[in-house]
Symmetry: C2
Subunit: 514 residues, 2 copies
């Protein structure tokens, strides 16, 4: 077999089942190897940001990596933003990036680039294959690296001649690295801190936001009275009625700082102490209160379930968790659609066990809050702040979980970065209902303009944050890529459209005019 076949065959043996691809000439042997590999599904994206964002969504839901197929340095470049988000999410992804044949590189042909240099900033691990025989080894190493708890971005650069040369062979499935455990001293320190006086919080992120792990957090809350707070942007948060509920740290730094100010003790599990998303003149970056006792129980890379279980045991916590969420609904008024009644309608209709890909920005905050007591669901957020994640993430989640409805809550500004994801939804007939929150604006930037101290912005500055000239018609964009679409501007219209979309399997788009 050739190097490409050995590489793909090894990944398949490891359990990799999906290849999200946007290939070029230098990857044709990899395309052929995926083609021949039984049990490996190939899913085309028309832009690399769709490919890497879909791999992120897949990884978050499958807890194992898909493999991407990307064309040289520029193709990888197009995928970097969503790799950045995936890395911040701790998602497992294997990237295979084609490169020129080794002997062709020195000719500096037009597409020659420093693929390794492009890969490094957004990868946890990068490797160029050394030979056709080495390619399968690189694949096995990449798989083990990608599966490092909770997940890592592992990138293999594949010279074309390594892919096409014969004489390669598959290699054994690697032994996966053991998940790091929180040290016993950390558990003891956390237990002691939570038994102290004053207001206390357990600050949760990463894998600590899975339902079974949250039960441990709820037990700890029952034992200590600690409040449960989550990071502002979660990779995958299992929520809904009957699950242990958490509070969310506000986005803006000064609000977050005020929110945390009362605590004397904060124990962190699956997250570092929060910092403000951006710096602002005269505002703090560090958000935890001065003088509070801060204890790191477990980092994002240490086993959250084991750490919280050990902590609950150390506290002799009751079996039943506190803070179990009661079912809640919110009444909504018909009439002009706004973020509040949109959120209430969504909470009412949210299907049990659905997945929400949330890149709703300013317009979706109410939806997040109102769905906390809705039917149980997984809520996926923009972890790295690089907008253009939401639609691709929905693609990948739907591929990983074909039996679950996916709802993409997507702000218009961010949606325009990777709108090509709609085409892949149509092509694969993915069960995704996309809700575009069309407010005709980079609304968050209008707020940020003031917050960084710009007084009296002029027409040029404001025009750079405005998306109404011309207004974007998302329904036409959607239909142009094969996804049926409808526009609504009232709460009752949104209710009818969402009910209709959720009743069928397959992609739909609702353009919510706010």
């Amino acid at each position: 077999m050739n190097g490409a076949e050995a590489f793909i065959g090894t990944l398949s043996d490891c359990g990799v089942e999906v290849c999200f691809a946007n290939p070029g000439t230098s990857e044709m042997q990899l395309v052929a190897a995926v083609d021949r590999q039984h049990g490996m599904r190939a899913i085309l994206g028309l832009f690399e940001g769709v490919v890497t964002g879909a791999a992120d969504g897949y990884g978050r839901m499958a807890d194992k990596p898909a493999v991407t197929l990307l064309h040289l340095g520029p193709g990888l470049g197009n995928g970097l933003a969503n790799l950045h988000n995936a890395r911040r999410a701790g998602s497992p992804i294997i990237n295979m990036v084609g490169d020129h044949a080794t002997y062709h590189l020195h000719y500096d042909a037009p597409l020659t680039s420093d693929a390794l240099g492009v890969a490094r900033p957004m990868s946890d691990w990068v490797r160029v294959s050394k030979s056709p025989q080495d390619l399968a080894h690189a694949g096995a190493e990449a798989f083990a690296m990608a599966q490092s708890y909770p997940g890592k971005i592992a990138t293999v650069v594949v010279p074309a001649d390594h892919a096409w040369s014969e004489g390669a062979a598959k290699v054994a499935v690697p032994v996966l690295p053991a998940t790091a455990k929180a040290p016993a001293e950390a558990v003891a320190a956390a237990a002691a801190a939570l038994q102290g006086e004053g207001p206390k919080a357990l600050f949760l992120g990463g894998r600590a936001l899975r339902a079974d792990v949250l039960v441990q957090a709820g037990r700890i809350a029952a034992a200590t009275g600690a409040r449960l707070i989550t990071e502002t942007f979660a990779a995958r948060h299992q929520r809904g009625a009957g699950r242990v509920a958490t509070e969310k740290l506000p986005y803006f730094g000064e609000q977050a700082e005020a929110y945390l100010a009362e605590f004397k003790t904060i124990v962190f599990c699956g997250s570092e102490p929060p910092v403000s998303f951006f710096a602002y003149p005269g505002k703090p970056s560090w958000l935890s209160p001065p003088g509070a006792t801060l204890v790191r129980l477990a980092s994002m890379r240490e086993d959250a379930a084991a750490a919280l279980g050990a902590l609950a045991d150390a506290l002799a916590a009751p079996a039943e968790p506190a803070l179990v969420q009661a079912p809640t609904q919110f009444p909504w008024e018909p009439g002009k659609l706004n973020s509040a009644n949109l959120g209430a309608v969504l909470a009412e209709l949210l299907p049990t066990n659905c997945i929400v890909s949330d890149e709703s920005a300013t317009s979706g905050a109410a939806s997040y809050a109102m769905c906390g007591g809705a039917a149980q669901h997984d809520w996926l957020q923009l972890t790295g702040g690089a907008i253009g994640q939401g639609l691709p993430l929905a693609v990948g989640a739907a591929v990983a979980c074909p039996d679950r409805k996916v709802i993409a809550l997507q702000a218009d500004g961010g949606g325009m970065y990777t709108l090509q994801a709609l085409w892949t939804m149509a092509r694969e007939q993915l069960d995704v209902t996309t809700v575009i929150l069309n407010n005709g604006s980079y609304a968050i930037l209008n707020i940020e303009l003031m917050r960084v101290g710009v007084q009296n912005p002029g027409p040029k500055a404001l025009s750079m944050l405005d998306l109404t000239n011309p207004a974007i018609n998302w329904s036409k964009l959607s239909e142009g890529m094969g996804v049926p679409a409808v526009r609504v501007d009232t709460a009752e219209g949104f209710h009818a459209a969402l009910k209709d979309a959720l009743a069928v399997k397959g992609p739909r788009l609702i353009e919510a005019l706010l």
Copy 2:
């Protein structure tokens, strides 16, 4: 003034008139500075690949840089592919990439990234400002670097606190570097070689493809009988009836090798000896004939006009060039639209002094050939092979040359990477007629699949090169972003639609179903 104002003010003093922008929170002070800067136009792109591709088109036509505004490492990542193309084109571009405030970086907030690492692979020069006062110096240096003949990609990473801090001042417009001249020995060697026996060629690229420089090449052809051959993908080629005509090197390596095989002498000006775009098993990378005399008259970075002028003088060439293109038209048959009758219609209707942004791939080869004897025009091509350049390039060319009609010949596959460019065309009412060559396929990859030796590709492989499931409706995509559109599938339909579009000023899209 603050650092941002000093930076933007200095660039404005240098003559920078346009900012292509896709800003985020960390760039709000730069947005405000552009806002306040008289004589600096701000043009919003909804995706960074539009921004950098537009800067490329602007640089090719204006021969001076625009400045881009990009958001941190991920935003720059989205712009890398078109910076790669721009670098290969020798286009002048200044990138300003916002970054977190210096004191905020170590907190590793969600959007923290290695902006410098992302910048390096596709920049000729990179610099992080050292202080608010240093920012204007970095801008002046970037301008001088960008204007290095024929142009370079100069990237400045701007920490937010350097932008917002007061106490900065503009700096003087820098002295531009002198353009390197071809050495006298190179001119003498080229003259001697072209006076030798056997078939000979002058191989031209870069700035040698401007009309006035081609006159010198035509004089040399008149004196020596040398044929004039151009690189396959030209940044900006001034062609048309009455100008000195050239032949174009074929794309596929073996065809290019055969094309050059007869030559005993090849003199290169503005280009290195050509190599195959990709490597293929058993096929050559190097295309020049063994045993031929190869002389480098001038590299892409040496003054092409001066070099060819000196060579013409050394050869005592006649004042009148040879190979002046006669006006040519091609008859076309009504009926089903194909690349041949599309090319003939285009050649017939091409407006005098128009600009063609050509990312037409397989479907557009006939158009290039048939327009050689049409009205005079500038023909801009995909220099770096990273698809998704054509529409943004048209945006930038139209901004640089508001009095010239721009025609974007765009293949459907490549067009999908940066379709957001249509929105900027509508917003700025740019005089661009976009022709989408919709063949529902990555057609080039179907060819390449065979050429790299993949036999009997299966359904998965072929599906990865197919864009018909679902078929994309470009007219809806275009109308969704505010550009009026029409679909045609006959030659007479295309003729009518193109005539109609060219008769008005402003953006139009013609979806040519092939």
